[in-house]
C-alpha cells in the first residue's frame, strides 16, 4: 500500500511540475504588467502543434525544439501587441477579455489547420517504464521534470544576473520609478510576454509526448496552472514549484482514496480558503496599504 502512495505522489508531482511551468508563464507577465494571458493554454497548444509540424517536415527533435520555442516567443509577442498593450495603456482590465478572445481564435485556427483530433507527438526519449524500488517512472517523465526545473532556473538566473533581467526586476518592483531611470516599461513588458511565450512553448514540447497534442489539450491544464500561480502568489517562482508539486500529489491521492470524480475538490476548497486567509498568495508579499 505504501508503494501505491509513493507511486501516486510521483505521478501526481509530475503533473504538478507541468502546472508549475505553465503557472510560471503567468507569473512572468504578471510581474511586469499586472496582467496575465488567459490564452496561455492556447499558446501551449499552438506551439505544440507547430513543433509537431516541424517534426513532420523532417526536422530532427533537437533542431525542432528551438524552432518551437521561437514560435512561442513570436506568439507571446503577438498576444502582447494585439491583446494587452492597449488595455494596459487605458489602465483597464480589458486584457482579461482580449486574451480570452485571442485564445478562442487560436483554438479555431488550430482546429482548422491541424484538425480536431488529438495526435501523438513523437519523441526520441524512451517511454519504457523503469523501476526504482517498485516505482514505475519513464525516462520521458524524468526529462519533463528536468526540463521544467532547468528552464525556470535559467530564467531566474537571467533575471538576476543580466542587465536586461535587472530591468525586468525593476519594472516589477516599481514601474514608475523604473521609467524615471530610463527603463522602457513597454519593452520590458514585451520581453516578459516573449519569455512567457517561450515557457508556454517549452511546456507544449515537453508534455505533448505524454498528453498528446490536440486543440483542447491545455484547457484543463491551464485552469490548474492558474490556481497554482495565484495560490503561490503571483510573484514567487519558487512558490509555484512547491504549490504545483503539492497540488499534483494531492489530486492524485484524492482520486485514489476518495474517488476519481472528487479529484479536484480538495484542491479547490484549499484554494478558496488559502485565498481568503492570504489574498496575495502563500508565497506572495503582504501589501501595506498606503494612502
Amino acid at each position: 500500500m505504501n508503494q501505491a502512495v509513493i507511486q501516486l505522489m510521483v505521478s501526481g508531482a509530475l503533473m504538478g511540475l507541468v502546472y508549475a511551468l505553465v503557472a510560471y508563464g503567468f507569473q512572468l507577465t504578471y510581474a511586469t504588467s499586472k496582467s496575465i494571458n488567459f490564452g496561455q493554454g492556447e499558446l501551449v497548444m499552438l506551439s505544440a502543434f507547430f513543433s509537431l509540424t516541424l517534426t513532420n517536415l523532417g526536422l530532427p527533435y533537437y533542431l525542432m525544439i528551438p524552432g518551437g520555442l521561437l514560435f512561442g516567443v513570436v506568439a507571446g509577442l503577438f498576444v502582447e501587441r494585439a491583446g494587452v498593450r492597449l488595455a494596459l495603456e487605458q489602465k483597464s482590465e480589458g486584457w482579461i477579455l482580449m486574451t480570452i478572445i485571442l485564445g478562442l481564435f487560436g483554438v479555431s485556427a488550430a482546429e482548422n489547420i491541424w484538425g480536431r483530433d488529438d495526435r501523438p507527438f513523437p519523441t526520441p526519449i524512451p517511454t519504457e517504464p523503469m523501476q526504482f524500488f517498485d516505482i514505475s517512472i519513464t525516462p520521458l517523465e524524468i526529462s519533463v521534470a528536468i526540463g521544467v526545473v532547468m528552464i525556470m532556473v535559467i530564467i531566474e538566473l537571467f533575471k538576476r544576473k543580466t542587465l536586461l533581467g535587472k530591468a525586468f526586476e525593476a519594472v516589477s518592483a516599481d514601474r514608475d520609478a523604473a521609467e524615471l531611470m530610463g527603463i522602457s516599461a513597454t519593452r520590458t513588458i514585451m520581453l516578459s510576454y516573449g519569455l512567457s511565450g517561450l515557457v508556454a512553448a517549452l511546456a507544449g514540447i515537453l508534455v505533448s509526448p505524454i498528453t498528446t497534442v490536440g486543440p483542447t489539450m491545455a484547457s484543463a491544464l491551464v485552469l490548474k496552472a492558474f490556481s497554482v500561480a495565484v495560490v503561490a502568489g503571483l510573484e514567487s517562482g519558487f512558490g509555484v514549484v512547491i504549490v504545483g508539486l503539492f497540488l499534483g500529489s494531492l489530486e492524485s491521492l484524492t482520486s485514489f482514496y476518495v474517488g476519481s470524480g472528487w479529484r479536484e475538490a480538495p484542491g479547490l476548497v484549499l484554494l478558496i480558503l488559502a485565498l481568503a486567509v492570504r489574498p496575495t498568495g502563500i508565497f506572495g508579499k503582504a501589501v501595506i496599504r498606503k494612502v
Binding site: 501505491a4 507511486q7 505521478s11 501526481g12 480536431r116 505524454i210 491544464l221 482520486s255 479529484r263
Partner: protein, 412 residues
C-alpha cells in the same frame, strides 16, 4: 441596435422559408467543433458522400420530378442548450424532410422532444447512449418519429461482457468517463454482468474526467484488485491516457470497451499500448466488400485523409442517408410524416456500406425500443486494435459480414 436585431430575426425567418420546394431538405446535426468533433464531422462527411452520390445520379424520383438532396448543417457543439435550440429551429421549418445526426446522448435528450412534437423524422447516429431511445418507451409515446442507426449501448455492453466471459476472466475493473455516455455505459455493463450470471467480479468501479491525463490512481486500484481485464466506457482521448497509463504501471491486461475505442484519437495516441484492445464495431475500415471499398476511397479522396477519423460514424452517416433516401422513394413524398411511415415499413432492401439493410425499422412499439433501432446483435462485430488499425477480432465475423453483404439476407 434594436432595429438590427429585428432585421436579424426577420431576415432569419424569411431565409428559412426561402428555399425552393423542389428539393429534399434534410438537416445534419452534430458537434463539428470541440471534443466530440471527430465523430460529428466524420458522420457529417460520410453522409455528405452519400448525398453527393445520390445527387450525382440525378436525385430521387418523386412523382414526375427528380429531386435532389439539399443539406442544412447545424453544429450543436455537443451542448444541450444548442441542441435544443437547433431542434426548435428545425421543428419550425415547414419543408424539412428529416434530420440525421447527433453524437451526444444529452443533446438527444434535450432536443429530440421538439422534433417529436412536430413529428419530424430523425435518424439518430452515432449517439449510442441507451437513454436517447428509452426516454420514449418510458414516456409510453404512442407514435414516434425518432429512429436510430447506431449499435446502442445495450448491445455493446452485452458484447463487452460476454467477450470477457468468453476469455475466461473472472476479475475485471470497470472504468468510465464522467460524461453521460460513460455513466450510462457503466450502468449497462453492470446490468449485463448481472444478466450474464454474475461470473465477473468487479474489483473496482472508477471514473475519470474529460481532460484527465494521469490515470495512475484508477489503474493502481485495478492492479491491486488483480483485474484481468479493464472494461472501459469513454468518449475521448482520455481512453488513450488509460492505455498508456496501464503500460506505465505494468498492468498488462486487455482493454475492452465501447466502439469509441476504434477512433483514431485512441489508436494513434496509445500506439503500441493500444494493441489488443477490443471493441464492438459496426464498420471496420477494411475494403472487404466493393461497396465498402468505394466508400472508403471516396472518403479518403473527398476529405484528403489517409484514414477516417471515426469510420463507424462515417459509415453510419452514409447508410443513414441511403436508408432515408429509400424511404423518400417509397413514400413518393418529401413530407416528413410520410417518410416516417415508409421508414417503419421499408419494402426494398437498402445496400449500405455496413450491411444490406432489410426492414431496419418497424412500427413503434413503446414496449420494445428495438422497433426503432436498426442494429441487432449480429450486425455488430468485435474489432481489435492492431498496429494502428482496427481489424476483425475474430475471423468468423468477417466472413459473416461478407456473406451478409453479398446474399441479401437481412436480419432475423
Amino acid at each position: 441596435m434594436r432595429r438590427a436585431i429585428l432585421t436579424t430575426l426577420l431576415a432569419g425567418l424569411f431565409a428559412t422559408q426561402a428555399y425552393a420546394a423542389d428539393s429534399i431538405k434534410i438537416a445534419i446535426t452534430g458537434p463539428f467543433s470541440g471534443g466530440s468533433a471527430p465523430m460529428g464531422s466524420s458522420m457529417r462527411d460520410g453522409a455528405k458522400i452519400a448525398i453527393a452520390e445520390i445527387n450525382a445520379a440525378g436525385g430521387i424520383k418523386v412523382g414526375a420530378k427528380m429531386l435532389k438532396f439539399e443539406v442544412l448543417e447545424r453544429d450543436d457543439e455537443a451542448k444541450n442548450e444548442r441542441g435544443a435550440l437547433i431542434a426548435q429551429e428545425l421543428a419550425s421549418m415547414n419543408d424539412l424532410s428529416g434530420v440525421i445526426g447527433t453524437v451526444n446522448t444529452g443533446v438527444c435528450l434535450a432536443g429530440d422532444k421538439h422534433l417529436q412534437e412536430k413529428g419530424i423524422t430523425k435518424i439518430i447516429t452515432p449517439a449510442a447512449g441507451s437513454a436517447s431511445m428509452t426516454q420514449w418507451s418510458k414516456a409510453k409515446v404512442k407514435d414516434l418519429s425518432i429512429f436510430r442507426l447506431a449499435a446502442h449501448d445495450g448491445i455493446q455492453a452485452a458484447m463487452v461482457v460476454s467477450e470477457a466471459i468468453n476469455r475466461k476472466y473472472t476479475k475485471v475493473a470497470m472504468l468510465y468517463d464522467s460524461t453521460n455516455y460513460g455513466v450510462s455505459g457503466r450502468d449497462d455493463m453492470a446490468e449485463q454482468i448481472k444478466k450474464q450470471g454474475n461470473i465477473l467480479q468487479v474489483v473496482t468501479t472508477d471514473k475519470f474526467n474529460i481532460g484527465d491525463k494521469d490515470m495512475t490512481a484508477q489503474l493502481l486500484r485495478a492492479k491491486n484488485g488483480g483485474a484481468q481485464a479493464v472494461l472501459i466506457w469513454g468518449i475521448g482521448p482520455e481512453l488513450a491516457a488509460v492505455a498508456n497509463g496501464m503500460a506505465k504501471i505494468g498492468l498488462k491486461v486487455p482493454l475492452i470497451g465501447g466502439w469509441t475505442l476504434s477512433m483514431s484519437n485512441f489508436i494513434d495516441n496509445s500506439a503500441k499500448n493500444g494493441n489488443g484492445t477490443l471493441m464492438p464495431q459496426t464498420f471496420i475500415e477494411e475494403p472487404i466488400t466493393p461497396k465498402a471499398k468505394n466508400f472508403i476511397s471516396a472518403y479518403h479522396k473527398a476529405y484528403n485523409v489517409k484514414r477516417i477519423p471515426s469510420p463507424v460514424s462515417a459509415a453510419q452517416g452514409y447508410d443513414a442517408v441511403f436508408i432515408f433516401a429509400a424511404a423518400v422513394k417509397q413514400a413518393q413524398s418529401i413530407d416528413t410524416k410520410k417518410i416516417k411511415l415508409a421508414l417503419e415499413d421499408l419494402k426494398e432492401p437498402v445496400q449500405g456500406v455496413i450491411t444490406t439493410w432489410k426492414k431496419p425499422f418497424s412500427t413503434w412499439d413503446p414496449a420494445n425500443e428495438e422497433s426503432h433501432e436498426a442494429f441487432r446483435r449480429d450486425q455488430v462485430v468485435m474489432g481489435m486494435v492492431q498496429d494502428g488499425h482496427v481489424v476483425f477480432g475474430n475471423d468468423a465475423d468477417r466472413k459473416r459480414l461478407i456473406s451478409n453483404a453479398t446474399s441479401v439476407k437481412g436480419k432475423k
